[in-house]
Amino acid sequence: MYDGGKIITGLVVFIGLVTFPLWSNVGKAAKKPDPKIDTPVIQQLPEKERKCIEPKALMQAEHMKILNDWRDAVVRDGNRIYVSSSGKSFNMSLQKECMNCHSNKKKFCDECHNYADVKPYCWTCHIEPKEKEKVAWASIEENS
């Protein structure tokens, strides 16, 4: 090989870069996010009323779009009433409606957002819920 030293050095650097995900994860157990929905408010609800405003699959996929639409409806049109696909009416409010049930931001929102590195900018305007009170779900570890 001609100029073998330089070429092989380059190849080694290249292989190091493209296999970065392989060696950087060695020895780290990838933990799966586990969002919790066991807040006091939800637990007080009767079993069959423990439902979000829309079906779970839709909420998982489209919650960010719903929140965005809510923001536009409230801020631009002053419309605070959301009629869901099941015909129920809800107050369009992140802090008063969503976070009323899902008061556990760290274990509900952040669990998946941190895992997928999604940085929603809800809390640059809204007030983050204070999760000071000790409850069952927030007992052990706090996500950084």
Binding site: M1, G4, K28, A30, C112, D117, K119
Partner: protein, 329 residues
């Protein structure tokens, strides 16, 4: 045909992934097996291709340059465009790799009033640069699916790319830039007659493939949402060698992944190898020191010589008998 065949091939690939996952339910094949195989082909193919290049002898410096060679002390030499030192070569290579300096010299030629005229043509350089940097940013951003915890530079790339904070999920500028750049790179091949004439199937295929990868990714992010947490579980399973197929991942993800796998597997056999090749361009990576340093042709074989002294030693007796004069008695 040179245009339609690659298009049909890419559409067929999309159909294969669609049918394989949503029809036949071969999620494991498309989600685990094919990505592993593709990555292996990529690594081995890339290395063997570069090693093959490395084994080619470089007999002489090729001074295709755009600058004055270093010669006599009162003639000013161009230290970057015609470097005589390793330092100059390194600067030339950095400019080449990061800014595509050769492409910046791209010219267009046309007949104007019966005369051949040359003019500056920077659009190819601009689109090429936009395309490559978008692709790099997208690649870095995708590391969020392959690392846990996510490294800082990935977060920086995401924040910078979505700095306009338009819409939800946050719109990434590179998504739009890469589409526009690939579209330009494709359309110039279609609409410029000279380029259409020289464009082959293997020029169109990577363009279609990359375009379909970008489009499937954009569709997945902004339109047909897929279970992103499930996707990361799958990708983390791949990189930690404990593959699993989580539930609820849409078929659009498998199409995206299959196309990316095809791109990886196709890479070492295609023009895309310019990624490694740019570093091995003899006209770029060698200092022009032909007149200062002696370069010996590496394929010069040792020539067998039979000197007169040896000849005479061998035939002295016979020569004497025949009366031929000899130098040594």
């Amino acid at each position: 045909m040179r245009l339609w065949l690659p298009l049909i091939a890419v559409l067929a690939l999309i159909l294969i992934a669609y049918a394989g996952v949503s029809g036949a339910g071969m999620n494991y094949l498309f989600g685990v097996f094919i990505p592993y195989i593709a990555f292996l082909i990529f690594l081995i193919g890339f290395i063997s291709r570069v090693v093959k290049w490395g084994r080619s002898p470089v007999p002489f410096r090729i001074p295709t340059t755009a600058g004055q060679e270093k010669s006599l002390p009162w003639i000013k030499d161009n230290k970057i465009d015609n470097p005589s030192t390793t330092g100059g070569v390194i600067i030339r290579m950095l400019l080449e790799v990061f800014l595509f300096r050769s492409l910046f010299r791209n010219l267009k030629s046309e007949l104007s009033g019966g005369k051949l005229a040359y003019g500056s043509a920077k659009w190819l350089w601009l689109a090429g640069l936009a395309f490559h940097y978008s692709f790099l940013t997208i690649l870095i951003r995708h590391l969020r699916f392959f690392t846990e915890p996510i490294p800082f530079f990935v977060k920086w790339a995401e924040t910078l790319d979505g700095i306009l904070q338009v819409g939800v999920p946050t719109f990434y500028q590179t998504d739009m830039v890469i589409l526009a750049a690939v579209a330009y790179l494709f359309l110039r091949r279609v609409f410029v007659p000279q380029l259409r004439y020289i464009s082959l199937a293997n020029d169109y295929f990577p363009l279609f493939l990359i375009l379909s990868i970008a489009v499937s990714g954009i569709l997945m992010r902004y339109f047909f949402k897929t279970n992103i947490v499930g996707v990361k579980e799958l990708t983390m399973g791949l990189v930690t060698f404990s593959p699993k197929i989580p539930e609820g991942i849409g078929v659009i993800f498998y199409i995206h992944l299959f196309l990316v796998s095809i791109l990886f597997a196709y890479f070492p056999f295609s023009k895309l190898m310019h990624m490694g090749g740019v570093f091995l361009s003899p006209t770029r990576n060698l200092a022009n020191n032909n007149r200062a340093v002696r370069h010996i042709n590496p394929w010069n074989y040792p020539v067998k010589v039979h000197t007169y002294e040896e000849y005479e030693d061998e035939f002295r007796e016979v020569m004497k008998e025949a009366g031929i004069p000899v130098e040594k008695e």
